[in-house]
């Protein structure tokens, strides 16, 4: 076998191996789709915000804003961006998207300044029994709103606590803070029990205006607890999806500049190599001319 044929054969084998790698990349695509652990997000086509779609919730396809529904509990979640730094305007627009009255004052309004912007949560109660909670994250001149609308009066609240919600006593303290924030000053906490102490998750039984209510608490971070208060014997776990959505809401970073830099460097390096090849070839051609001239002189 000639050297050229050997070389061609070796290149063919290497090409086949590399093609197999390409096929492997495609194969992975199909495999991962079947993975039940893959999270699905609503991603706005142009405004870079992403809303996690909780399991059991349906994503009503909408190019203007995220609209998630859970018909089993009559709840919906709206995620949207409003071009304003004023949370009032942002919430009003979100309420409008949910076809709720925009002139109802909030039952609870909390605001907090964060290093990257502002954080506001507002609770609304409507005459038809529905409740709505708006979580607003401000960033410059933009406000991102997650609006939770419940048909059965569930009111989710993120409570800032001084201490970690780690045992029944601290859970009770966090619940008292939440009830005060909601204006339920005459509420009675009948019992607090650990649902899963390892995960700092607690359940509580309440009496409000003679009615039975239930609460569910989760530690979110060292200084926050998520509290859900709902009429009835127990809080439906599906309602807790709102906290997942609020925690996992994120913006796709705007880092196109690094992409451009990467492309410039990659193609710049390649161009540099090609230029050196051209320069080396030209130098060889000059050498050849000089050598041929010398050869001619020598022959003469």
């Amino acid at each position: 076998m000639s050297t050229t044929k050997r070389l061609t054969l070796i290149l063919f084998i290497l090409l086949s191996l590399m093609a197999a790698v390409g096929v492997l990349a495609h194969g992975e695509e199909g495999d991962v789709t079947d993975d039940a652990n893959v999270l699905t997000f609503y991603s706005h086509p142009t405004e870079r915000y992403n809303v996690l779609i909780p399991r059991g919730w349906s994503n009503v396809v909408n190019s203007n804003h995220a609209l998630l529904r859970n018909d089993a509990i009559g709840a919906q979640i709206i995620g949207t961006r409003v071009a304003t730094s004023n949370p009032d305007e942002a919430v009003a627009q979100a309420l409008g998207l949910a076809e709720l009255p925009q002139d109802v004052p909030p039952v609870v309004s909390e605001a907090q300044g964060l290093t990257f912007g502002s954080w506001t949560q507002r609770l609304y109660s409507f005459d038809d029994g529905r409740t709505a909670t708006a979580f607003v994250q401000g960033s410059g001149e933009q406000s991102y709103v997650i609006l939770y609308v419940s048909a059965d009066g569930v009111q989710p609240l993120i409570v800032r606590t001084e201490e970690t919600v780690a045992d029944e006593a601290s859970a009770r303290a966090a619940l008292e803070t939440a009830l005060a924030a909601l204006g339920y000053n005459d509420a009675t906490i009948d019992s607090v029990s650990a649902d899963s102490e390892a995960n700092s998750s607690f359940n509580a039984a309440l009496t409000l205006d003679g009615e039975v209510y239930n609460a569910s608490l989760h530690r979110d971070s060292l200084t926050t607890a998520d509290v859900l208060i709902a009429p009835g014997e127990a809080v439906d776990a599906a309602h807790e999806a709102v906290f997942t959505v609020v925690r996992d809401f994120f913006l796709t970073p705007d880092n196109g500049g690094y992409l451009i830099l990467g492309l410039v460097v990659a193609f710049g390096l390649m161009a540099l190599f090609l230029v050196t090849m051209v320069v080396r070839r030209r130098n060889l051609e000059r050498d050849e001319l000089a050598l041929r001239q010398l050869e001619g002189t020598h022959d003469r």
């Binding site: 050297t3 050997r6 070389l7 070796i10 290149l11 290497l14 090409l15 590399m18 093609a19 790698v21 390409g22 096929v23 492997l24 990349a25 495609h26 992975e28 695509e29 199909g30 495999d31 991962v32 993975d35 893959v38 997000f41 991603s43 870079r48 994120f250 796709t252 970073p253 705007d254 880092n255 196109g256 690094y258 992409l259 830099l261 990467g262 492309l263 460097v265 990659a266 390096l269 390649m270 190599f273 090849m277 080396r280 070839r281 060889l284 051609e285 000059r286 050498d287 050849e288 001319l289 000089a290 050598l291 041929r292 001239q293 010398l294 050869e295 001619g296 020598h298 022959d299 003469r300």
Partner: protein, 261 residues
């Protein structure tokens, strides 16, 4: 004042034609295919694949970063093969292949290294860290850069070729280690994209990975760019580099002939 003397080719005496032969048709076709492929790959990376929602547009660097490593590996493998066959046949053609493989591989490895650093800045918040994968890659680049320097420092052609062949055979170990290290070392921040599912459980430190199926077109864009940058680009460049070296060999032979006469 330095004066330059121009050479009038019309006055040149007739002599043996050593000017580079016309480009073979296969190489012309391959070059056109490669250029078209790179343009297609860019379209797949920038226009076809969707934006990765967690990382943003910078993730698109992966469509060049990762395939460039495969291209470098391909070229370094050619060096190893060239070295093995040179030692067996003592045919200088194999040494030329080995040299071309190192130069092309080094360019592609540098593209891989620099694009990785640029991607890491917004994702890891640092241009560089001494992670096992990154360190292994840096060692690989330095090893092959040393190949060129050591080779240039040896006068005797036969000795140089023999030394380069042995060096090239052993140097491939650095490329294999770089390829395999995130799969065997758990404490690495570098993500593994292909065969990610099997590694996800073992490597909990990895940051910046992405699901091939999570964003539309990622698998296709990556697969096509691996074929283009991992195969077409190195093959075309190696072929061009071999032709350049053959041309240089002929010039060196002419020079030797003149010196001897």
């Amino acid at each position: 004042m330095a004066a330059t003397k121009s050479i009038d080719t019309a006055e040149l005496p007739p002599g043996p034609v050593i000017t580079q032969a016309p480009m073979p048709r296969a190489l012309v076709v391959l070059t056109i295919l490669t250029i078209a492929g790179v343009i297609l790959g860019l379209y797949m990376a920038l226009g076809y694949a969707g934006t990765e929602i967690e990382q943003g547009d910078v993730q698109r660097i992966f469509y060049i970063h990762m395939p460039a490593f495969f291209g470098a590996f391909f070229a370094f493998a050619a060096t190893t093969i060239g070295g093995l066959f040179y030692l067996r046949t003592r045919n200088p053609r194999w040494d030329t292949l080995a040299l071309a493989g190192v130069e092309v591989g080094l360019v592609l490895a540098l593209i891989n290294l620099t694009t990785g650093a640029i991607w890491a800045r917004p994702i890891w918040n640092t241009w560089w860290n001494w992670d096992p994968r990154l360190t292994a890659e840096a060692v690989m680049v330095l090893t092959y850069a040393a190949y060129l320097m050591l080779r240039a420092g040896m006068e005797n052609p036969e000795q140089r070729r023999r030394f380069a062949a042995v060096y090239g055979i052993f140097a491939i170990a650095t490329a294999i280690i770089t390829l395999m290290i995130p799969r065997i070392v758990e404490a690495t921040i570098h993500p593994v994209v292909i065969a990610q599912a099997e590694n996800a459980a073992a490597n909990t430190m990895a940051e910046g990975g992405f699901e091939l199926a999570a964003t539309a077109g990622v698998g296709a864009a990556l697969g096509i760019n691996i074929i283009i940058w991992g195969m077409l680009v190195p093959i075309t460049l190696i072929w061009h580099r071999i032709r350049l070296e053959n041309h240089a060999d002929r010039i060196r032979a002419l020079k030797m002939r003149l010196m001897e006469s």
